[in-house]
Symmetry: C2
Subunit: 242 residues, 2 copies
């Protein structure tokens, strides 16, 4: 990732330094959104996390892979509770922020490059909607199989997502239809993050309903065993290794 | 202005309805900025305005033209103090919000279309950095002459701007140099406003130092008689009709 592309890392590093910053997410069709809670939430202590995430943390066990660790909130929480944690993030600056905040083992690595060189895991955490990093079909089953190859028996994925169908915004529904017409999943967002002069490349980020998560997992060595839904915007799917 | 282009009006109307919304300003070179205070500030009561604006309001007299009235804060303040005010805004939705909030005479009109059909004015207010709407050379002197033709003797323009040279951001300095190489004024921003699926056309918005404001006014029937600088980001130039 070129420095000029590390908009996400700049946002996080800027927030660490100044306590300010707003995440701008641009969709490929021109829709743009500014999330004022963006960077602050990446630094939240446990008590401020969504309830579904707090509930799901009870299911974390053993050695943990924190996918898209951002500013390190999940890794730090689990480390403090005695877990061995490896945090990975595509963004060099996010990885640096996680390190600076005390995460012991952070790798600058795209999720598609995980391998047994990281060792084996008992839990894979994809919080902050990071189940979205599976992108869509056909990458999702491919990546889930890859995840299987780096886990121990009895492993779990705690996979957070947003059900894309739970929206009243007619523009979002139109986007879903457009995606379907193009053979994409409805919630398969094509987005980029922007911050000042920094712009990430376009990437696919999937919002999946629990049903869709279950279907993507099927046949890739995982099964959706439970859905933790606390009535919030987000939910956490519990995928168990089969 | 097509409804799909009224990003500014959507922002203001959305904020009136929900109390939320963030103004996203994209510069033509790809720099992007989200201003969390944007829409709220358009609704501020007098006591929350920048000090320079509050001081400058003492100089308003007679019949007033409020250029780029937005959500109507300046028009409402002056109306309450007994002034006859005409607010103009390019944005149909902003004009509607101003009307709904009680501004008696609002016209949906680009600043370049002001004419004697609006009657004659004693004061022209360009707050919220709206001196920027003069755009740059050669439009600024042309527009200032046009302003002169719709004012009475002894009229004043209360022109707010930001001195573009007062920044530590090296990216902004690079942008100034780039502008100069292209024969533009250093602070002549080429920007557009974005909100959800709405995007304004690109437009020029000038940040001018007091010296630059004085030079643009010279020969166009106005003279920079005073600069109200309260040590804030913004200042108000007092242009007097000569």
């Amino acid at each position: 990732m070129k420095p000029s592309e590390d908009a996400y890392g700049r946002l996080i590093a800027g927030y660490l330094e100044t306590g300010e910053g707003i995440e701008i997410v641009e969709r490929h069709d021109g829709f743009i959104n500014a999330n004022p809670h963006g960077p602050a939430a990446y630094f939240f202590p446990f008590r401020k996390w969504p309830k579904a995430e707090r509930t799901a943390m009870r299911l974390a066990r053993g050695r943990v892979l924190d996918v898209g660790c951002g500013a390190g909130r999940v890794s730090l929480y689990l480390q403090e509770r005695g877990h061995e944690v490896v945090g990975i993030d595509l963004s060099p600056l996010a990885a640096e922020v996680s390190r600076r905040r005390g995460v012991k083992d952070v790798r600058e690595l795209p999720v598609t490059r995980v391998s047994r060189r990281l060792g084996l895991f008992d839990t894979i955490v994809m919080f902050g909607n990071n189940f979205g990093l599976v992108g869509g079909k056909p990458r999702a089953p491919w990546l889930l199989r890859r995840f299987r190859s780096i886990t121990n028996e009895g492993a779990r994925i705690l996979a957070e997502s947003v059900d894309p169908y739970k929206t009243d915004n007619p523009d979002h529904h139109a986007y879903h239809r457009r995606n379907r017409r193009r053979g994409r999943m409805a919630g398969q967002l094509r987005i980029r993050i922007r911050y000042g002069q920094y712009t990430t490349p376009w990437f696919d980020y999937l919002l999946a309903s629990p049903d869709e998560m279950a279907r993507l997992a099927k046949g890739s060595g995982w099964e959706l065993a439970d859905v933790i839904d606390e009535g919030e915007h987000v939910y956490v799917g519990v995928l168990e290794r089969v």
